[in-house]
Symmetry: C2
Subunit: 211 residues, 2 copies
DNA sequence: TTGACACGCGACCGTTCGTTCGCTATAATA
DNA sequence: TATTATAGCGAACGAACGGTCGCGTGTCAA
């Protein structure tokens, strides 16, 4: 309600572009889905292309605000179990938040046509998650929770399969529950392989608080 | 040269659909790219939609012929090093074969709009590779080359990151060399983690031939 | 030589596309 | 009250779309 018309148009555009793509969407239906005549659109945007650009601007800003700066890093888990729960919270959120789901779909569709979509896709689908977990894993190694290894490699090995399952949810939403279960199973498999399971962590971790 | 006009049309359609999508491609340009008038198209296909369907038919058949039946399974590697080389041969092929690259792009673009593209995408991007490596890994475990574990989980953990790198090559071809190198690094990391490195393999593998 | 067929062509058709225009209603400003 | 800005509307525009039509041409069997 507090939302201006411009935002409502961008929301509807994200909805349609993420289903049919930019070329497969026409202004009439887009306006129609807002209960608005086609021509009224042009009070707010000069052209279809400008809607596209504004939408990408918004997505870039949204991504930047959420993952752009280091201070948005989630805290380094204090146990292997905590890594699993944190991961599952992230998966659950990213798979159910409509705006994020639509963003990924849109990037999948447009990544080969639009330069900005292309680079955003690489960030969203690959490097973003990997970089984030690289830092988390480095922190966990410092705490003696993870076997010492190249944190970037581990992060890549951890996030890529989870990312694949997220894409599966986007593509076949009816398999969401199954995919989430598989993500958790994988996460537990991962900590079984890479986790440090002896109880000597306290001798390694320096900044842990005694309970 | 031996190629019929119908095949040439389908090739050109794959080329354009994989760049601009179905909706973003128009018959005039498609015909033009073959040095052919728009209307001549309709000697061979009843409609744009029929071109799309025929193209998908072809992709399904192509995929089925290559990966459909168990007899096309690559042989179970006889060493960890062989797993790496086999993997890299597959990656190299799948990243450089134009037809396969375009097929993946097309599926990325159309997966949310067309049911057949959707299910093909899941096969191409996820289950196909995973199932194939599940069998390979089960065989390698029998031979004592891989640590005993759930072969499906290992296959998933192995193929998903490689698949992510393949997608990266599709999206940003200039990063292909880098991505391939990372795929090999990951493959070596994987065998370092999951491989059996003592020399007692002969006592486990039953169907090995003495050299 | 004829007829049948396959194939390519440019002209053309109706529709839909993105976009523009002129009008009206509303609400805030002066 | 007069003014101005804002946002909506239906009608209409030219361009581009998918698709059709009739003609011309080459091929090959009868």
């Amino acid at each position: 309600m507090a939302k201006g018309t411009k935002e409502r148009i961008l929301d509807a555009a994200l909805e349609m572009f993420s289903q049919y793509g930019f070329a497969g969407t026409n202004i009439r239906e887009l306006a129609g889905s807002l209960g608005m005549g086609k021509s009224s659109m042009y009070r707010h945007f000069e052209s279809k292309e400008e809607i596209w650009n504004a939408l990408l601007d918004e997505l870039v800003a949204y991504y930047e605000a959420r993952f752009g700066s280091p201070e948005h890093l989630p805290p380094v888990p204090n146990s292997l179990e905590e890594l699993v729960t944190m991961t599952m919270r992230m998966v659950d959120f990213t798979v159910h938040d409509e705006k994020i789901v639509k963003s990924r779909k849109l990037l999948s569709i447009e990544q080969f046509r639009d330069e900005r979509a292309r680079s955003l896709a690489t960030k969203h689908f690959l490097t973003g998650l990997t970089e984030m977990f690289t830092r988390l894993f480095a922190g966990m190694m410092d705490k003696g929770l993870l076997r010492r290894d190249d944190p970037a490699m581990l992060a890549f090995a951890y996030t890529a399969p989870i990312s694949a399952l997220i894409h599966l949810c986007d593509r076949e939403p009816e398999k969401t529950a199954e995919a989430i279960a598989q993500a958790e199973a994988f996460s537990r498999h991962f900590i079984k392989i890479y986790g440090v399971w002896n109880n000597e962590q306290s001798s390694v971790g320096r900044d842990q608080h005694a309970k």
